[in-house]
Structure formats: structure tokens, C-alpha cells
């Protein structure tokens, strides 16, 4: 996956580059609008992360120029979240919009969603280790044993399984499972994860549902835990 970051804030650009590179992206960085536009036109990126406030040529202008030639997906970053900025950005052809301060995993989720868009259909059968999920029949099995899940628990499990090995923030989970699109300041997601964990991991030796403290939750098979050793990422 090739990705271009156009951002003049050195610290922001650097941590984004390092973080995304670690997640397996091939990252280029442009520090101003002109060079960003040049790179975006000359090379083929899967997605572009574009800051609005740039020296010389601002993000909106870069986007306008780019859209005359290419339809590369663009996520815009801004410190301002006034409605007209949002409308302006999306109207100018941005595919998504993130307001600073945003969480890194939120950006990651959006990037993956943009790249995933237009790909082949999601499978109806998912498997994570010995956990099997049938999205059509809405049933889940672990080690061949049917798990007794409520509707919301199944929706939560399906979301985590579809994005397996991705850290999902509480905000994303609340939005996807309950259609609650704001920071609710409640611990609903923690409680829901705790219940789901009891059902899918409780009786089994290897744990699949992990808490990443301060960031969110991830469903994946971890070798070290299969061996039973605790790590810094142990469930809270």
C-alpha cells in the first residue's frame, strides 16, 4: 500500500510516517502543498493524507488541482472542525475528514476503509484461530462449540473479526455497533467487551480478545498467550 502524507508539522508528519510504516504502508512525506501536489500527480498512491493548513498552497487548493487529473482517495486533516470547513473539504473532493486531535488508530481505520472500498465483497465466513463466525446465520463457534451470544454481542464480535488484528477504538465500536457517533463518556464499550470476553475466551485457554490500553480492542491470535505467558498487553 502506497501512501502520501502532506503535512508541514514536522512532529506530526514524522510520527504518522513511522506509525504507518510499521503498519506495513509505504509512506512518502511532503512538507508543503506544492511538492505534495507534484508527488501526488507524478506517482500513484493508494491514498493521500492531506493537511488543510499548509504553507504557500493550502490543502483545499492542492485537492482542487489534484482532482483535475486524479481520483486518488484523500483524507483531509485539520485542527478546525467548523461545519463549513467540513463541507468545503468534502465538496472539494475529499473522501474523508479527520479533526485534530485525532487518534492514530482512528486514522488507520479510516485509511483501511478507504482502501477497502471498491474491493471484492467481504466473506460471509470468518475464522480467527479456532473461532468461527457465520455472518449469514449469525452464529459463532469456538472449538466446535456454539457460543451463546446476544444480538449486540454478535455484532461486536463480527466487527472485531472483520477487522481482525486491527485495533478498534471505543468510538469506532460505539458507532458501528450502536450507531452512537460521539464520545459518550460512558463505559458501555468496556462492559460489552468484558461480557463478550467472558463468552468467547472465558472457558478457553488461548485468549483472542485483547485490550490495548488507552487505544482500544483487537481480536487476534497471539503466540505468546497461547503459551500462557502474560505480557504488557494482557487484558485489563
Amino acid at each position: 500500500m502506497k501512501l502520501l502524507i502532506v503535512e508541514d508539522e514536522v512532529k506530526t508528519a514524522d510520527y504518522l510516517r513511522d506509525g504507518l510504516a510499521e503498519q506495513g504502508w509505504a509512506v512518502d512525506v511532503a512538507r508543503d502543498g506544492m511538492s505534495g501536489l507534484h508527488l501526488a500527480r507524478e506517482l500513484d498512491y493508494d491514498v493521500i493524507v492531506l493537511d488543510v493548513m499548509l504553507p504557500g498552497m493550502d490543502g483545499f487548493a492542492v485537492l482542487r488541482e489534484l482532482r483535475t487529473r486524479k481520483q486518488t482517495p484523500v483524507i483531509m486533516l485539520t485542527a478546525r472542525d467548523r461545519i463549513d470547513d467540513r463541507v468545503h473539504g468534502l465538496g472539494a473532493g475529499a473522501d474523508d475528514y479527520l479533526v485534530k486531535p485525532f487518534s492514530f488508530i482512528e486514522l488507520l481505520a479510516r485509511l483501511q476503509a478507504l482502501v477497502r472500498r471498491g474491493r471484492q465483497q467481504e466473506p460471509t465466513e470468518l475464522a480467527v484461530g479456532d473461532l468461527q463466525i457465520n455472518l449469514i446465520a449469525r452464529r459463532a463457534f469456538r472449538d466446535g462449540v456454539r457460543l451463546d451470544l446476544t444480538g449486540k454481542e454478535f455484532a461486536l464480535l463480527a466487527l472485531l473479526a472483520q477487522r481482525r488484528s486491527q485495533i478498534l477504538s471505543k468510538t469506532v465500536i460505539a458507532a458501528q455497533v450502536w450507531d452512537i457517533n460521539f464520545d459518550s463518556n460512558t463505559n458501555v464499550v468496556e462492559v460489552a467487551i468484558k461480557r463478550l470476553r467472558t463468552k468467547i475466551d472465558g472457558p478457553f485457554r488461548s485468549k483472542l480478545l485483547h485490550t490495548v490500553r488507552g487505544m482500544g480492542y483487537v481480536l487476534e491470535v497471539r503466540e505468546d498467550e497461547r503459551e500462557g505467558s502474560a505480557s504488557g498487553r494482557s487484558p485489563a
Binding site: 461545519i83 460521539f182 464520545d183 459518550s184 463518556n185 460512558t186 490500553r213
Partner: protein, 464 residues
Amino acid sequence: MTWLSIAQRLAAMFALAALLVFALVGVVLHQVLRDQIVRYQHAELSTKLRSVAHSVAMCDSPERWRKVQDKIENLTTSERNTRFWAWSESADFRLGADRALPVRTGNARDYGMGTLDRPGMTSPYRTLEQIVPAYGQRPPVRLWIGIDSQPYVAALRTFALAFVALALVGTALVALLGHWIARVGLRPLQRLSSQARTLSPSNLSQRLRTEQLPPELGHLGGAFNGALDRLEAAYTRLDAFNADVAHELRTPLANLMGQTQVALSRPREAAQLEEVLQSNLEELERMRGIVNDMLFLSRADQGDIALDRACVPLAAEVAKTGEFLEYLLEEAGMRLRIDGAADAWIDSALFRRAMTNLLHNAVQHGTPGSEIVVELATGRSPGEARVAVRNRGQTVAAEHLGRMFDRFYRADAAREHRGERHHGLGLSIVKAIAVLHGGAVFADSGDGVTTVGFSLAEPAALRA
């Protein structure tokens, strides 16, 4: 362009009014005077004409005609401003005219008088005519009397000129006096504005003195003082708000700095550093929550949030929020009941946000195992609605009740509820959302039952 001062405007308007009055009076006086003059002319002419006509009527021969001529000669003034003419078939009975005089007859207002132009003179003769029937040798005689109108025309013109001059001088005087009066009358306004100039931001409780003002300005002063009251309240609130924000952010900042400094003070294991980073992230998330909520409130204050309103049944929205909080309700052993039904124009996302905060509040403060009731009621007009959340729990004291929607306000100083962190903006967000929907918030508590809720109004655009 620069606008005229109030005194100048008033002076100009007074002058215009005076000019109009003068013009009206002038025109009427001129008409009356002219009418009087015509009447006087008519009276004089008809007296003289009657007397001469009588003599002519008695005359039956050319001899007697000479006597008539003498009499006419006597009546004719030396300046010849009154003249007689007579004409008949017979040349013996004529006077001054060798043929019938071409007299233009006047209109009804001139009492039947005519005019006769005098060659070389600007003003004509005013004339009356009479036909005296035949008598003896004398055929019928046509008799005219004419009076020179020159003095009358001159008098009228002098009057008109004098009046115009008077009107202009009068108008100028009225303008000057008007300006002076207006300036004197507006002196309280000047005093008021010089008072307003002395108001300074360093003393917010300063007000204008309105006791000695005339009533019109008294209202203005009162309204202005009212605005100052509101500004002072808003300013004080903002001041307190800033202090709260700083205080609220100071705790996580102190944690971040302290923990990081401790971690860096000596070499650490990777696991220890990871622990510090995770803890820092939690503090940062907490700060992000505060900043985002504050931004939301500030944008709501500025009316900068576009509402995407639709008319929906509120019960369904409340049920959805209840579903989200289901696990929390279950943990507290509480049940949610929705009473009544109402449809209202709402932005669903914002409504759910308000409902989440209200219900969460009720879960945290309610007695475990009790029931939370959401009462929905329609308002006075369609599209209006009231949402009230009622829970059992400790009665909230009246002094807290009024302030619970204030930003960062907490009734209990201990800021944690059942292990959850709170920054005291939840109910202010409910209030902001209610206000965005044209509604208001309310709270009531007594006998262990607390009711908190908000109202919704129909959008103004739909009422219009």
C-alpha cells in the same frame, strides 16, 4: 456621505414646516386681499355708473346731452383714472368712443366687471357697462365706466413681495431657533453618551444613572443597563469557565509531566515504559474529551452547529439510547421505562447525545435496583415536546438544582462515580442541545425522586 446631526435634521424639518405654513397663509391672504379689491372696485364703479345712467336716461335731446357731458366731466377725476364712454347710433349722443368698445368680460369672481386694455400701459381699465333704453330723440345708449387698475395691481404685488420676504426671514429664524431648541433638548443625550464613554472593562458593575433622565431616554438607559447586566453575567461566567477549564486540564497535564519525568529519571524496562505510555495515553484521551466537549459547547453558543432536523417519534430514539446503555442499566440492576409518546423535530445524533448524558446521569445517581422513567409529552403546539428522566436516589438540594447545568459544575466534590471519570460537562451539553432545538432544560428533586429533562420546540421555519 456624512449624516446630519439630530439638531440639524430637526432644524431643517422645522424650516420646511414653517415654509409650508407661510406659503399657505400667503396664498390665502393674497386671495382674500384681491377679492376685497375687486369688490371695492365694483362698488365704486356701480355707484358712479348708476348715477350717470340716471342722467342719461333723463336726456332726450342733444341739448340735454351736453349737460350730461358736463356732469360726466365733473365725475371724471383729473388724473383720469376713472373714465366714461358712451356710444349710440346717433353721433350726437356719443362720448369718447366713436364705435362700440371691445371689452373683455371677466369671470364670476369679478362681479361682472370686464377689462379694457389701455394702449401703452401695463394695467388695463376695470369696466362696467350698461345700456340705457331710447328716450325722445335719443336712441339707446351704451354706457361704460372704466377705472384704472394700476394702483390695485401694484398694491397686490407689494403685498406679495413683502410676504415672500417675510416668509423667508421667518423660515430662517425658525431654522435657527429650531436648531437651538433641539440642541438644548438633546443635552440629556449628550450627558448620557459622556457617561457611557466613562464605562470601562475594569469595573463591570458600572451602570448609567437613569434617575434624572427624561422618560424617553430613561427607557434607553434602562435597556442599556440591562444589556450591561447580561454582559457582566456572561463575562463573569466566562471568567469562571476559563478558570474551570484551566483547572480541569491541569490535573491530566500534571499527571503526564510527572509520570513522564519519573519514567525518564533512570533507565527503565521496556514494559515499565510501555506502562507509562499507556497511562499517558489515557490522560491524553481524557484531555481530548474535555477539549472536544468544550469546542462543542462553544460552537453551540455561537450557533455554529447545523441541525439536521427531522420529525421522528421520540420513543424510538430513547429506546435506541436505552439499548446503548443496556449493559450499564443491567449492572446497576436498573430498568428503563418509557412513558407516553411524542413526535418532535430533532437532530437524531444530538438528541441521542443528550439522552445518553441524561440516562447515564440517572444510572450514576439513581438507587441501584430502581426504575428509570423517561416521560415523553407533547407540548402546547404540535412539534413541541418535553422529555423528562426520573430516577430514585438522593434528593438534590435546591442550591445544586439550579446550577447543575452549569459547565464543570458538580454537586459532589469527589469527581468519580463508580470508578468513572467525569468532567462535569454532560448536563451542560444537554442544555446546549436543548437550546439548539429552541428548548430549555429543567430539573426538580424531592422525596428521593429527581427529574431532569429538556424541552424541544418546533423549528421557527416551520411555524412561519
